[in-house]
Symmetry: C2
Subunit: 340 residues, 2 copies
DNA sequence: CTGAAAGCGCTAACAT
DNA sequence: ATGTTAGCGCTTTCAG
């Protein structure tokens, strides 16, 4: 392994100058920098991250916390994060938080304390008070996607507003009998996203003067299969049948689409369906949805964290304003005015 | 940040003993070990990874190379890898290789040379000769999932055999007119998986004395949408119509299922469909498939690499036998004997 | 089984 | 703008 000393000798300068030239910290004349860079290149020198980290306290590595790796939404956000970080020369260390509480503890108590990372991005993870306190104590900058996470820089989309937009689209088309597939009152995952979406849904209805109807609610687990079964129940029920379905996620919306098809209902003629998320399959199913640009969320978080890190050199602290993430209604082919 | 010195003082031993007690290397009396461990615990001490790495040359960190983060197969393999590594106390640093050749170079030339990782797992990545040579030179143990990758420890599933099993299932049911959705002759992604699957398909047919029929081949891009359109073309064609479809991936098989439904063909009564992979949606669609256990692939690779790493302490080198990965036919509801 | 001390390879004052 | 040098916090001989 070629070390900084060899490069210094080869370029005819001191190791300090090599360090300065290669890291861009401190002044080096253009000529010297060129000499050092070409020396490094021809010797194949790459700085040892452990030595550099130990001496400087910087790792050029960001820890990313995810709840699941194999679910579309999270892996898409992660994908955005990874490319933004790599683009700026940072490594990314992945911590997958499983259901196992003990393992989760070890991530916070051990893994993140090894001083392996300069900062942390938490994707859709609700942090406990002691976890947040632990990060503060470590002085580890952290940014969360999805919130609120009190006391943390947070990028979050207004789930209620998203749901209002989706519901508003249905109302504008003229629908009045709109079913809701999503949150069950008792069961709520990260940050009550399902609940917020239900609240947005109800606000939109209320604004249009439509009272909520319990018979038009069906809980589901945010999967295609869950949406499928919920829609089956909804559409198979005797009595009032909805003209539209609001699904609190695209995957459930797709499930609902498949259920409608199976029951012989035409979409959008007999039934409109709207989803939320911006799922990759939405295009194929012609699904009308409210896109929350998950890839972009990951990129933004990465950029925000790196900006914060680089700003720390200048100003030590900095206020934490929760920033709002964008979303947009994408009208495709699964929504239309009700018949009649 | 509490350091090893404080722990040593607190426990009344030297820093060397603390290091030995905590790392498990070298002999320490049980009593001393207990004392050190409880000292470390009560002080909240965690070893600094950069200091430890610099001194020992070990990082307890594994680099994982993936082609895409947001595609089901890769993120599932990654998920298996991540949990296996974390279980054994290793961090995982993620390198996502995009289409950008320049960025790919930088991963091999720079990122992997920072001495941040003890070993590398390459998921479904075809490595160039100079890339493999670079790893050897760095003396970085590497294990690949999917192959062949000459000169590298490789875990690989026999794609032709997998396809033979899937096709054999259809033949056993009595099908003779079997269409193939998959490889286009010219376009082939990682390791010619599509081609190998097509070859396995043809071998099975040949073994049954059935000659290949060009009109029953439809190329597709391994997505649901691609499978959908391929099946549409296949089933909409005048003349001979297949009684079964072999799709070279579950996603294409699901697309074919949706196409068949849309065209009014009942599955499996009018048409049988078999896929390959073991996709999470397979259960929902009742898809008959050959599962290749992607999560397990990730776990195996991680365990194999760590075993290799730990064995390196004892024996320096070790032969690289490409190991075969398991697969299994899962018969669900999309296959049945042809009518008549 | 334990301690003393010499580095691991680099960075950051401090000089010049 | 560049060189000198003292660490960064641990691990690992080498002694005992």
């Amino acid at each position: 392994m070629v070390g900084i000393g060899e490069v210094a000798r080869y370029a005819g300068v001191s190791t300090a100058t090599v360090s300065r030239a290669l890291s861009g910290r401190g002044h080096v004349s253009a000529a010297t920098r060129d000499r050092v860079e070409s020396a490094a290149r021809s010797l194949g020198y790459v700085v040892s991250s452990s030595a550099s980290s130990l001496a400087s306290g910087r790792t050029r590595n960001i820890g990313v916390l995810v709840p699941f790796l194999d679910r579309w939404f999270f892996s898409t956000v992660l994908s955005g994060t990874a490319s933004a970080l790599m683009r700026r020369g940072y490594d990314i260390t992945l911590y997958s938080l499983t259901a196992d509480r003990e393992q989760r503890r070890s991530v916070f108590q051990t893994f993140l304390r090894r001083q392996r990372v300069d900062g942390v991005i938490a994707i859709s993870i609700e942090l406990g008070d002691e976890e947040i306190a632990g990060m503060r104590e470590l002085n580890l900058p952290m940014i969360a996607i999805g919130g609120p996470n009190p006391g943390l820089s947070t990028l979050t989309v207004d789930d209620a507003a998203v749901a209002r937009v989706a519901t508003g689209h249905l109302l504008t088309l003229g629908h009045r009998d709109i079913a809701h597939i999503g949150a069950s009152p008792e069961f709520d995952i990260d940050f009550h996203v399902p609940t917020h979406r239900r609240q947005g849904f109800e606000q939109a209805l209320a604004d249009a003067g439509i009272p909520p109807r319990p018979s038009l609610y069906e809980p589901a687990d945010f999967t295609i299969e869950g949406g499928f079964h919920a829609a089956k129940r909804l559409l198979g029920r005797p009595g009032e049948r909805p003209t539209a379905i609001f699904a609190a996620s695209d995957e459930m919306a797709i499930g609902a689409l498949l259920a409608a098809r199976e029951l012989g209902h035409r979409v959008p003629e007999d039934l409109s369906v709207v989803g939320i998320d911006g799922h990759e399959l939405g295009e194929f199913f012609r699904l009308t949805t409210v896109d929350q640009f998950p890839m972009g969320q990951g990129e933004r978080a990465a950029d925000a964290l790196l900006d914060e890190l680089e700003a720390m050199d200048a100003a030590p602290a900095r206020p934490e304003t929760p920033r709002a993430l964008p979303f947009a209604l994408i009208v495709r082919g699964t929504t239309a005015p009700p018949r009649g």
